[in-house]
């Protein structure tokens, strides 16, 4: 492992993403990617008494699905690195408290999935054989914590995004046949002064572009090197803004760039406004869709950049602007 350029890490013995698993809620199951997920839920409670408990169950079951699919025994997993959006990351810690695997809780808002994959890759290059990374989010528990009660009859602005209910998990291993994690570019915090908590795409797009530009400069690559450049949850508006910003820097990413928040819902029929968001957005779309595309060799090189808005409900009520972050991970066959 070596540092190249300003902030990119290149792996000498690239770790493998050996297996992925995903579970999503009912709304995601109605979306265009339904057939790619391992399991879809019929209701948001999944037999639990609260949404928080349901979210814990989702991440727990996703991790056990992953372990089941991969054939690796729990004893051979060196670490699980997980995070979510609820205060003090209770979904992951409650969901994984019975897992009996060393646990690192991480928080990077919606960028958590790639953050945990980056840490996992570093661990695997260093000492570990198998590391699991997982994230979850739940529409109802997120609305309760960040916005208004669900039953309140209010209107959402067109820039608002819909938190994805679900969880995605990936197993990063030392040995395997790929796809391989070749580079990671951890991002800087970028704050362009956006204060509207209903405009997350616009708040995070500058961070996404900063990380993407740095990745290109550090590695000497350009957009056409990748079959797909994928952002986490910028949504329709954030996606358009990012294309514009990159164009102003001389990079045309329009042809091979997509956003998980755009992909997971059908904007016209599902009334999700600017698209999906949340820790599970990037995690489920990568674990469900992109991982299978890599396995089937339909795409060979992807750059996954999860984006996060590092704020909470108190900071936005106090009029603070929203700092954005984006971490990139290059996955190749």
């Amino acid at each position: 492992m070596q540092k190249i350029g300003k902030q990119t890490i290149k792996f000498d013995a690239p770790p493998t993403v050996s297996e992925c698993a995903s579970i999503v809620g009912p709304k995601e199951a109605d979306g265009p990617l339904c057939k790619y997920f391992d399991q879809t839920l019929e209701d948001e409670f999944w037999g639990e008494k609260s949404w928080e408990k349901a979210e814990s169950k989702i991440i727990k079951e996703t991790v056990s699905t992953l372990i089941g699919k991969s054939g690796v025994s729990t004893a051979d997993v060196d670490m699980v690195i997980a995070g979510d959006l609820l205060n003090q990351c209770i979904s992951s810690s409650f969901g994984l408290r019975d897992s009996n695997i060393p646990f690192l809780g991480v928080f990077g808002a919606c960028s958590t999935f790639v953050e945990s994959m980056s840490i996992s890759a570093i661990c695997v290059e260093g000492f570990a054989k198998n590391v699991i990374c997982a994230t979850s989010s739940h529409f109802c528990s997120a609305e309760k914590q960040f916005r208004f009660p669900l039953e309140l009859g209010n209107q959402r602005p067109p820039t608002a995004q819909w938190t994805v209910t679900g969880s995605g998990a990936a197993l990063i291993s030392k040995s395997g046949n790929g796809p391989f994690i070749t580079h990671i570019t951890p991002g800087k915090i970028v704050d362009m002064g956006i204060k509207d908590a209903n405009s997350m795409g616009a708040a995070m797009a500058p961070a996404f572009c900063d990380t993407l530009l740095t990745h290109f400069q550090d590695t000497g690559r350009n957009p056409s090197y990748y079959d797909a450049i994928i952002s986490g949850d910028l949504g329709h508006i954030g996606k358009e803004i990012s294309i514009d910003i990159m164009k102003s820097h001389g990079y045309n990413i329009k042809s091979n760039y997509n956003d998980c928040g755009v992909m997971i819902f059908d904007k016209a029929s599902q009334d999700t406004h600017s698209g999906g968001s949340g820790c599970a957005c990037c995690a489920t779309v990568f674990s469900g869709y992109w991982f299978k595309q890599l396995q089937n060799k339909k795409v060979k090189k992807i750059l996954l950049i999860a984006t996060g808005a590092l704020m909470n409900s108190t900071s936005s009520q106090q009029g603070e602007s929203i700092p954005g972050i984006a971490h990139a991970i290059s996955i190749e066959i």
Binding site: P149, L150, E151, G153, T159, I194, I245
Partner: protein, 146 residues
């Protein structure tokens, strides 16, 4: 040109790029649905008066029926759909007030009756209460100082 050169420049660019709420449609829907809810209230009031209740009692009956109906529909997960369509039309009449109390009560039931329902029930509505007191205070001063 790079829109992220200055914060103000980026804000202006984002404002231009972000679609606005459909204001004309929202206003129109709020106008006729708000009118409809108030008309329903007026019809109940007239019926009560015809049945021989005085105006104060009739008004109370109207409030009870509309609040009850709104709370019931909130419980059935229907009011949020009505509210999404009507906007201020269902929010401003007493129906919106009932919804703003019942919805947090339902949401926080999982935290128990004392610290959940009891403590959080007025999360949305209490700002309304606070400003009512302000309004009364200033109106009172205004009337009696002139």
């Amino acid at each position: 040109m790079d829109p992220t050169q200055t914060k103000q420049g980026y804000q202006d660019y984002v404002d231009k790029k972000s679609p606005n709420s459909p204001i004309a449609k929202n206003l129109f829907n709020a106008f006729w649905t708000g009118g409809l809810i108030c008309s329903i209230g007026q019809i109940i009031l007239n019926i009560c008066k015809e049945r021989g209740f005085d105006i104060t009692t009739s008004g109370t009956i109207v409030s009870i029926i509309l609040i009850g109906l709104s709370a019931f529909l909130t419980g059935l997960n229907i009011f949020n759909k009505i509210g999404k369509f009507c906007g201020a039309g269902s929010l401003i009449p007493i129906t919106g007030f009932a919804n703003s109390i019942v919805s947090p009560a339902m949401e926080y039931k999982s935290e128990g009756y004392v610290m959940g329902v009891g403590a959080k029930m007025f999360t949305v509505a209490r700002t309304c209460f606070s400003f009512w007191y302000f309004k009364c205070y200033y109106c009172w001063n205004y009337i009696f100082n002139f």
